[in-house]
Symmetry: C2
Subunit: 343 residues, 2 copies
Amino acid sequence: MATARKHPDGAASAGATIYSVAERAGVSIATVSRVLQGAGTVSSTTAQKVLDAVDQLNYVPLGAARSLAVRHHEAHGLVLPELTGPYYSELLMGFESRAAELGQSVTLMLTDGKADLARAVRQLATRVDAIAVLGSAAMPPAVARALHGQKPVVIIAGTPQEGIESVRAENAHSAEQLTEHVLAHGRTRLVFVGDPEGAPDIAERHAGFVAAHRARGLEPAAPVRVPFREGEGEAVAERILAGEIEADALVCANDELALAIMSHLQDAGRDVPGEIAVVGWDDVMTSRYVRPGLTTVRQPVHELGVIAAERLHQRVSGALPRLEPQILRTEVVIRGSCGCPTR
Amino acid sequence: MATARKHPDGAASAGATIYSVAERAGVSIATVSRVLQGAGTVSSTTAQKVLDAVDQLNYVPLGAARSLAVRHHEAHGLVLPELTGPYYSELLMGFESRAAELGQSVTLMLTDGKADLARAVRQLATRVDAIAVLGSAAMPPAVARALHGQKPVVIIAGTPQEGIESVRAENAHSAEQLTEHVLAHGRTRLVFVGDPEGAPDIAERHAGFVAAHRARGLEPAAPVRVPFREGEGEAVAERILAGEIEADALVCANDELALAIMSHLQDAGRDVPGEIAVVGWDDVMTSRYVRPGLTTVRQPVHELGVIAAERLHQRVSGALPRLEPQILRTEVVIRGSCGCPTR
DNA sequence: CCCGGCTCTGTAAGCGCTTACATCTGCACC
DNA sequence: GGTGCAGATGTAAGCGCTTACAGAGCCGGG
């Protein structure tokens, strides 16, 4: 009846193992495992003994050992560029909540500021069953490809790559709608602010911008290519104030940019939207608070995260990759900065 | 010379193991491990053979197996309530960046909306070497205590608990300073908005609020106890508009609250700061953009995250817990909403 | 020419779990 | 009273790595 014990030490609570628990409860490690996993049949009196022992020893199973045995990490990886602004946070919240529901931990990796990205990603791949990557994350395509084939991968809001699953929000159509809305206000010199080559979704938004012009037989002006940094907004505003950029409406690639420009312009005494209209993208919190309210586009960011976690889990559970990109609907939010009297 | 191989299959690249790599490279698994870990001495020609094999098989080591062998997860856990607003994101970014520098992955858990918190935390404990918990995370103290003793724990911005390491930003003193600043503007009916019992840092801020009054021989009014939700701000504003709350200055527990109230008040035609001053806490992005700019307090949130990651790592590496709480300095940011002409 | 001491590589023993399979009860049934 | 079966438990074989230890070459010095 003596319990097998290659593990002589039963002391250190900090190092309690399934063996010490088994010994203390007077059962075999198999029984302990069964009780803890709720698998198999165990009499209730035995189960109680085990539970007591677990309690007394303050036993926490070693995840790595279980992972090795079951051959699953029970964890999903998420790769984001960074976390400023509400976009990524919201996405992460969606991802985490769904992953947790599915019993998966989430291991986060931020790419910005990382010296050796490839190494970091490879290291991540080592500890998770599947990985979701934000399209805008500065991830060498080669890395993404290497990952794929090793682990299920889904790309969020990025250019779909051959054979890699992807999910994103609709961009081009709403951009066209938004642009058309501004044009309908009678504006004629619209300028797109943001770098279409900087990220795939920006490219799409720009495409919508162009399409709206073409639909009216207009030729769109060249975009003002700037990165997302808040500081860039000021710079753009300066160029406008200096007359370097001529425009009566600005279609910005995101709200941060739009807000910075708008605020700077207003400080310089310009009338927004009177002299110049400004619209953004993302519907961040600030956009509701500034005056005039910023007209923008709302994306189902939270849901993007949820879906990514969901797909990952299904793939890990053996589902086949979904061939075509999943595209979620967005919504134009009209406030005052476009010229509408709304508020 | 034949390589040991209990593992007959050498096919499936998706399932490449150290055995298949070893076999392919014509060496033993020990050598493969040495090459990959950069430990021990391996001739460069052998190393190259291994590297080639790794490449061809697209081999990704199984983290769980390594963790089990080295008896470290090489991962830190971080428990936050949620991720809206810049506070938690910034913290997380600090945490992640430092953890990554130290070669640790970060596994994130969000408590809001989690049905079985205790279970979730226990599950987290299973997969990481150490855990940082945000003080405001709705974590049953019992859980925190159970964790502690199992794994190193640090509490961020929370009430220090017996024997548990903690790090936070200074609150009481800056709150006193901020309050005194408002009082110095000649305001007499200040009201604290926020629930001192809701979170330990709020309690401290309230204490500072009270102290500033006492220092002038004034008796502070009772706080308006409301939670953080943005919606609550509107409700408070309504109560002020209705004359239910009498005040010529509002000291709010955080910026979200302050902004919501201020914006609502302004929409109703009230003059801020003319009729009523409003100050907040956190210096979120929006606070720079609204007019008047919101006077607030800036905390070294990023650094809080960095330090937490740092301490965790040191503890895992055998360092003793730091006895007294580490307290970081904050900074009052004066803008216009307090009555200053600044801008 | 032998030997000590390198350098490089292989052998094998775990790390702490899960789980298929074997074993052992006890009990209902004939 | 024997048979069969279901329920409860134990046995032991891995899961894929790391690493202490040992062995095999090889070099130079005495």
